[in-house]
């Protein structure tokens, strides 16, 4: 391997340097029909699952074909997407916020042709490459984080849990028979880079064991005051320890005060907390962000812990499917999952979804906990 220089000269890093230019302007990448009718769209329709029609005030029409992807994708795969875009959609393609692909075509026939072409593309193992769907009252692609593929704090994998879940709810990705859209999100630790705290169904990786302490190395690798300050519950304090006759500056953790957030580890690599038995998944439900009918809402924890069961997390997917199916059978048209649970009452939600209620589901974290306790005698048996 010979080093190939781009032109950058490390001896003179500022020479010819370009910085702070930001992204390219989006206007360069709009398909012609989109550009011409920018801001002048009249209405849209979902022709069938995965195919949208947008009609402009001018009468111009454009058909969108939407397909799911695993958001971790290779350059070879992106090359395939480019080939498809060159062949079918004038060389333009769009990614949605939920990691779907969208291709614009001119006619309904072309959209259907592209849909069947995309549905035919498979990996050698049998999985679809570009399954069409993700529109309307169904499940769309899962937004997620890095997991064991690339992050240092995960309590579970992201790509794997998402693949396992989407396989189980795939029918609802390709059809529109739910009462309302269902957004599933996944984050592999409490940092929630994937911010699952407002999703209809949220898969969240959680730790359950306090940090390990690498006493001999801690003071070398970490700023002890930063580790102490990082702990939101004040569980970490500076300390000294004697090992083999030598005294080390280190920290001590008041374990019963730990809520397993991993902040200390972020500040101090000598405080890892991942553990095969300790780590797993919490499921949260009933969040939303749209203002439609009801206000945006946070997701609520309904299953405090499910063990990690790679590669397919069968317990987790079974519970997700049960919640989704119960909701689908019981909710009114237009009713989001959380609105359904609010209407029937959460006690009824647990009963219908056959989920046990435990003390772990009663909030005890600071002030906001109070607003989740019941302050009325209106309840259901």
């Amino acid at each position: 391997m010979a080093f190939i220089s781009s032109g950058y000269n490390p001896a003179k890093p500022m020479e010819g340097r370009i910085s702070d230019i930001g992204p390219r302007h989006f206007g360069e990448y709009l398909p012609p029909v989109i550009k011409e009718n920018f801001g002048k769209w009249d209405y849209h329709e979902i022709i069938e699952p995965g195919i949208l029609l947008h009609v402009a005030q001018s009468g111009d029409k454009t058909y969108t074909v939407r397909a799911g992807t695993a958001r971790l994708m290779s350059v070879t795969h992106i090359g395939e997407i480019c080939d498809i875009a060159d062949k079918f959609s004038g060389g333009y393609v769009r990614f949605t916020t939920r990691n779907n692909l969208e291709f614009q075509v001119e006619t309904e026939e072309a959209a259907k042709e592209l849909k069947s072409f995309l549905n035919d593309q498979k990996f050698p193992g049998g999985a679809h490459k570009f399954p069409v769907g993700g529109t309307g009252a169904g499940v769309t692609n899962i937004v997620h984080t890095q997991g064991w593929v690339h992050c240092h704090t995960p309590a579970t994998d992201a790509s794997g849990t998402v693949k396992a879940t989407m396989d189980v709810v795939f029918d609802d990705f390709q059809s529109m028979k739910l009462p309302a859209p269902v957004r599933i999100s996944m984050a592999c630790c409490l940092n929630m880079c994937g911010a699952v705290h407002c999703s209809d169904i949220a898969i969240l990786g959680i730790h359950r064991k306090p940090p390990l302490l690498d006493h001999k190395y801690l003071d070398n690798l970490c700023e002890i005051p930063l580790a102490v300050a990082a702990c939101p519950t004040g569980a970490v304090r500076p300390s000294k320890i004697e090992i083999d006759g030598e005294t080390y500056k280190t920290v001590a953790v008041k374990q019963e005060r730990c809520m397993f957030c991993g902040n200390c580890y972020t500040m101090c690599p000598s405080m890892p907390l991942a553990d095969k038995d300790g780590d797993g998944i919490a499921l949260m439900v009933g969040g939303k962000i749209s203002n439609r009918i009801t206000k945006p809402a946070f997701s609520k924890v309904v299953v405090p812990f499910i063990p990690n069961e790679p590669p397919r997390w069968p317990t987790m997917t079974k519970v997700i499917k049960k919640i989704l199916d119960t909701y689908a059978a019981d909710a009114n048209k237009y009713e989001r999952l959380g609105d359904w649970a609010n209407r029937i009452g959460w006690e009824r939600f647990f009963e219908k979804c056959e989920l046990p209620f435990s003390e772990h589901l009663i909030d005890d974290f600071r002030d906001p906990a109070y607003y989740t306790w019941r302050q009325t005698t209106q309840f259901k048996w």
């Binding site: 958001r71 480019c82 333009y92 193992g125 999985a127 009252a137 240092h152 704090t153 529109m176 906001p368």
Partner: protein, 439 residues
């Protein structure tokens, strides 16, 4: 012949949903064959080693990525996330595996020329693996070595005129819904505002000077397709002030069953004939719609612009003409103090390109000045707001107090009156008091 046995991951190759495992294997094959004869700048077998280390995590139930490692490009505090494997001997191909965040075109529209140019860089100088896209919105190039960072940055800026995104305690790459480019609901040009502010604040994006991260997100309407209200420190959500426009003929077509409700979103199941009373009038949260004698009437003064009626009958109802955005402040994920939703700071703001969005920039800068002054290290602005109070933010932002900023008035009467609020101020004379009251 695969370098590592991956029996657990192999099980993720079956099932209908796209398999990231199959795709990584496909990339591993392509690199092994190297049909283009590339002189790969990082280990050729890094996709295989990535699978290997991931399989090991599947067995161990623990991640094998080390934490930290400060790497980056000269002069930037963000844009690159350092990453090292904790089993470098077993998996040398991914021993150093840094992420590069690349600024995406707003709305995530691409042409294939741009995509092919991007992947060309990454094929040669990186792992060939990406996230399209990272959750903040950037293009994420997944895995390269330190010596390649400046080279990648050079090629991105010189050849593609594209910059790195943000990471660290700075402005993160702003993200927007597709807005006016393809959505009839957009109340302002989300993409243009996003682009303009991204350019305006490049310095804040690349050089961490804030107490913690700061995110802008732009939704064109209250449907919230980029989740601005939940995911951004400052959310710009499109809205309107005047009347919803009603086309009675189209209403009749919905009632008559000629047009499917909700743009056809419920087509997969037989929900029965469209019932305008039940599905629109009764579901309006402010009960401001009536339907009588074949005519739909909206008492717009009472409408809270939830979008339900418009979403349900997009051909009959249109958002009003007096458009702008609401600005909300302080959303964040649970770390540290629990999740927060954005709180309404400015009910309505004009989004005016003519003056280069000056009023929005003034608002942003007022808020930043306050947060940089008052915010603690690693405190999101939502937490600063909680600690110091909404009134302090309103005051600092220089916006008027408004009943719309609260859900309901306070429950407790512990009001922090200031001396200037009270007639005569706080200075009093105890001797004067004693003239009226014995000791």
């Amino acid at each position: 012949m695969a370098k590592h046995k991956t029996p657990m991951l192999d099980q993720l190759e079956t099932g209908p949903w796209p398999s990231f495992v199959s795709d990584i294997k496909q990339e591993a094959d392509a690199r092994a064959k190297n049909e283009k004869g590339l002189d790969y700048q990082i280990p050729v077998d890094c996709p295989e080693d990535l699978l290997g280390v991931l399989e090991m995590s599947y067995e161990d139930g623990e991640t094998h990525w080390k934490h930290g490692g400060i790497v980056g490009v000269f002069g930037y505090g963000g844009g690159v996330i350092g990453r090292y494997c904790d089993q470098p001997e077993k998996f040398p191909g991914v021993a150093h595996f840094h992420t590069v965040r690349v600024a995406q075109p707003n709305g995530k529209w691409y042409n294939t020329e741009l995509l092919r140019n991007l992947i060309k860089i990454w094929e040669l100088r990186g792992s060939g693996l990406t996230n399209m896209h990272g959750a903040t919105g950037d293009i994420v190039f997944l895995g390269t070595t330190t010596p390649q960072l400046e080279e990648i940055f050079w090629e991105l800026t010189h050849d593609l005129e594209i910059d790195l995104g943000g990471s660290g305690s700075n402005l993160r790459t702003p993200a927007t819904c597709l807005g006016m480019s393809r959505c009839e609901y957009a109340c302002y040009d989300t993409q243009e505002l996003c682009y303009n502010l991204t350019q305006e604040y490049q310095d804040e994006l690349h050089r961490p000077a804030f107490p913690y991260k700061f995110k802008f997100k732009f939704d064109g309407c209250p449907n919230g397709c980029v989740a601005a209200i939940a995911r951004s420190d400052l959310s710009f959500i499109g809205t309107w002030k005047d009347q919803i426009k009603v086309d009675q003929e189209a209403v009749a077509a919905y009632v008559g069953g000629e047009i499917a409700p909700n743009a056809g979103a419920h087509a997969g199941r037989d929900w029965g004939a469209f019932d305008i009373q039940k599905e629109v009038v009764d579901l309006c949260p402010s009960k401001c719609i009536t339907y009588a004698d074949g005519k739909l009437t909206i008492d717009d003064k009472e409408c809270v612009r939830c979008m339900h009626c418009i979403n349900t009958m997009p051909r009959a109802l249109k958002v009003g003409d007096e458009r702008g955005c609401s600005v909300l402040c302080g959303a964040k994920a649970p770390i540290l103090d629990g999740p927060q939703m954005g709180s309404l700071l400015v009910p309505f703001m004009e989004v005016n390109k003519e003056d280069d969005y000056q009023s929005i920039k003034d608002l942003i800068e007022n808020i930043w000045d306050w947060w940089m002054e008052e915010g603690k290290n690693r405190e999101r602005i939502g937490e600063t707001m909680k600690r110091l109070g909404m009134s302090a933010l309103i005051d600092a932002a220089g916006v008027p107090v408004d009943p719309r900023q609260v859900q309901e008035p306070r429950h407790n009467p512990y009001i922090f009156w200031k001396a200037e609020d009270v007639e005569g101020g706080w200075d009093r004379d105890i001797n004067d008091f004693r003239k009226r009251h014995q000791r």
